[in-house]
């Protein structure tokens, strides 16, 4: 399992630094951000939702269980009430005969006893097997009616008993009726029917002791059987859908037509289609829960937002660092490659420069041979002249040899190689390149070298570039016949100093400020203006410093301080 996890993370953070794709950093950043967010928010969300659910469950239990209990109890009460009434009627039916009950007086006295002993009876009536009303006792005077076509009459003929739904009837107010059929061995059939005031239901419901915002009522076939506080009067259609018959109490959380979130408990009666519905609004029950939920939600959201912000910032910084490191590495790598490529060009040039030595050697020998021939021959006119000329050729060859040697020393140094160098030698070597121009312009180059100058570790080519740039710069500032003085000294335990002074035109303070800036040039029409900035760049790279002092019409001095041991040859 940990290895799988590791694999996933590795795959996710897989990063090919050599891949050329330009958005690999974007991808990496995206992946890191996602991973960070997932790792931090998932536990947070899990915690939050676990809390939420646990609390919710506990609260619901606390609400639902009492609801269930009260619902069951009340249903039993109502059922008990109905059954009691039904069995009373059945008792009368079995105790008395049709003839006895047909007697108006007898029925009236039975009804009186009934009303006294049992609450809720409105009247009682006797119906024969053809559906005709044969006797009646109660608060109303009924016309003799024929019930043979009534639904309840058929029902009672089939099942023996019948409990009606609430209806108003001609009595003018809501009640229910229940009927019992008498059947003896000699097939004498008649029906005893009683009506019961539904106020009794309401008093049972009141006895439940519900809170002010709660509601309870009976429903049959979606018609309210008792008054409801919120959902209509008796015999109106119930606006809330009642769940199908289930086992015991069904509790559902719904939104009522007024938009209130309510808990609805419903329980069906066993013998009939009555449903007892108890409504409790959520808002009341869940007041504390709501505040908790809001707090929980707010904290979670704030945490997630903070995590996301931090993840973004962090991954940005991280990837930026990686990118920078990569770029640096790549740059160093390119640098090396570039330098290697240059060195191949340098070698090629060096090869040809070497080749020049061959004709030079031949000329040397030919001139030598001429010298020999003339030397060995007897004296003749102009012999001296000839010998002078061969001598001059041999000298020229010698000079050319020096030049090629210098060129070769150069061509080899296209690649950066750190060596232990004698700075005085390096400067002298470099001056070789300027000799002819200096001579041509009658510029004197003086050197004032410290004799025991410690050797420094540097790349010869770069040093040449630095010194030649500054010296040629100085030569431009000089009139013909001027002087350039180069001095070296041991500055301190880590540094050596070089100064290059010309007695030329100098420069203004304003010019001095800008000389190390790219593309700044005072040489009109020539010079790219890159010489000194490049010099500055090289000196900085090899860990040195450069300073300039100048006075107009007096001259300029450049001071260069170089590290004796520059231990970062990462060029």
């Amino acid at each position: 399992m940990p290895s799988i996890f590791k694999n996933i993370i590795n795959n996710f953070l897989e990063f090919h630094s050599d891949e050329a794709s330009p958005d690999r950093y974007k991808k990496l950043r995206r992946n890191i951000t996602i991973l960070m967010i997932i790792i931090t928010t998932v536990p947070l969300l899990v915690m939050a939702s676990v809390n939420y659910h646990q609390y919710n469950t506990r609260l619901t239990d606390e609400i639902v269980n009492p609801l269930r209990a009260i619902s069951n109890k009340s249903k039993h009460s109502i059922e008990l009430f109905l059954n009691e009434r039904l069995s009373t009627i059945r008792f009368i039916e079995s105790l008395f005969s049709f003839e006895q009950l047909s007697d108006k007086k007898a029925l009236n006295s039975i009804f009186r006893v009934l009303s006294l002993e049992f609450k809720g009876f409105i009247d009682i009536s006797l119906i024969d097997k053809t559906g005709k009303l044969r006797n009646y006792a109660g608060h109303y005077v009924l016309p003799t009616g024929d019930y043979s076509q009534e639904k309840w009459f058929h029902e009672v003929s089939i099942r023996g008993t019948y409990v009606s739904e609430v209806f108003t009837g001609y009595r003018g107010y809501p009640h229910i009726s229940m009927a019992v059929q008498h059947m003896t061995k000699n097939e004498e059939i008649w029906i005893l029917r009683a009506t019961i005031d539904i106020k009794q239901f309401e008093s049972i419901i009141r006895a439940m002791g519900l809170e002010a915002e709660s509601d309870a009522f009976l429903v049959r076939n979606n018609i309210l059987q008792t008054h409801s506080k919120y959902y209509g009067k008796v015999l109106e259609k119930c606006p809330i859908p009642i769940p199908e018959r289930g086992f015991g109490t069904t509790i559902t959380e719904i939104t009522d037509p007024d938009g209130r979130n309510i808990f609805m408990s419903s329980i069906y009666f066993e013998e009939s289609d009555y449903v007892l519905v108890i409504i409790k609004p959520r808002s009341v029950l869940f007041k504390s829960w709501y505040t908790l939920k809001t707090d929980l939600f707010a904290i979670t959201i704030i945490s997630i937002i903070m995590i996301i912000i931090i993840a973004f910032k962090l991954s940005e910084a991280l990837v930026k660092n990686i990118q920078e490191a990569d770029e640096k590495r790549e740059m160093a790598f390119r640098e090396v490659q570039h330098s290697q490529k240059l060195s191949s060009i340098g070698r090629l040039a060096a090869g040809v420069a070497h080749e020049i030595n061959n004709p030079m050697a031949i000329i040397n020998e030919k001139a030598g041979l001429m010298n020999d021939l003339i030397d060995f021959s007897p004296d003749f006119e102009n012999k001296e002249k000839f010998l002078n000329l061969t001598g001059s050729i041999i000298q020229s060859v010698e000079r050319c040899k020096k030049i090629t040697h210098r060129l070769l020393g150069f061509a080899k140094r296209l690649e950066v190689v750190f060596e232990n160098l004698d700075l005085n030698n390096v400067i002298t070597e470099g001056l070789g390149f300027l000799e002819s121009e200096a001579k041509h312009r009658n510029i004197e180059i003086r050197t004032n070298f410290s004799e025991n100058l410690p050797r420094i570790s540097a790349d010869k080519g770069q040093l040449h570039q630095v010194f030649l740039n500054i010296i040629t710069n100085g030569m431009v500032a000089l009139d013909d016949g001027g002087t350039i003085t180069i001095a070296t000294w041991d500055q301190d335990k880590d540094t050596v100093g070089v100064s290059i002074t010309d007695n030329g035109c100098g420069m203004s303070k304003e010019t001095m400020k800008h000389i190390f800036e790219p593309f700044f040039t005072t040489k009109k029409d020539y010079g790219t203006g890159l010489g000194l900035p490049i010099t500055y760049g090289i000196i900085q790279k090899i860990g040195g410093t450069i300073k300039v002092e100048s006075e107009e019409n007096k001259g300029t001095t450049f001071y260069i301080y170089l590290k004796k041991n520059f231990d970062n040859p990462n060029i």
């Binding site: 330098s339 090629l348 000329i363 030919k366 006119e381 050729i393 030049i403 150069f410």
Partner: protein, 222 residues
Amino acid sequence: MKQLQDSKLVFFGKMTASTTHEMKNVFAIIKESSGLMEDIMSFTDDIPETAKIKLAKIIDKIKGQVERGNNLTQRINRFAHSSDALIADTDLNEIVSRLVNMSERLAKMKNISLELVPAADPIMITTKPVELLMAQFYCLEYLFYFLPDGGKVSATIKNPESKPTIRFQIESLPSNPGGKIDDATLSGKWSELEEICKCLNANATVDDKLCITITLPVKPTG
């Protein structure tokens, strides 16, 4: 950093150019000295005739060698001037001849002869001269790797449909060139060539007859 490197190249180019200039001066001195000897000889009567003939011969040789030296110096000079500008307008014929000239000695050491077949008309392109020289050099190095002593390589310049190409071809193919092909050094050389072609915005291909073709853009877009 690249700028510093480039500056170094430019600097070396300048220095090399000035050095070769100086060398030319020296050759001029030698040439003039030998010329002067010829002149003096022509109006000096008492030199023995045999010596006179011999000396004249020697002076001739010297002149020839001065010419050779001058030629070589000129090659280095042209080569050095390649780094004057990082991007320049050049004739492809000229820039290829520059490299072929420079590489002749290298070829001679391996007993290989180099032949340049330029296009009839100049092909003006805007390119990075130093990089282009390097690319050509890599091609030659690559081919030299296969060649036995005494082979021959030709560089042909063409411009079909304004697509300037240089083709380096082994004229007499060695019998089993395939033997070394998957050598690591060789693929290294090839990737170096590809690297530099990328920088030139050019395209290099090699076929099974070891014919390398570099196709160049007329103007680099990169």
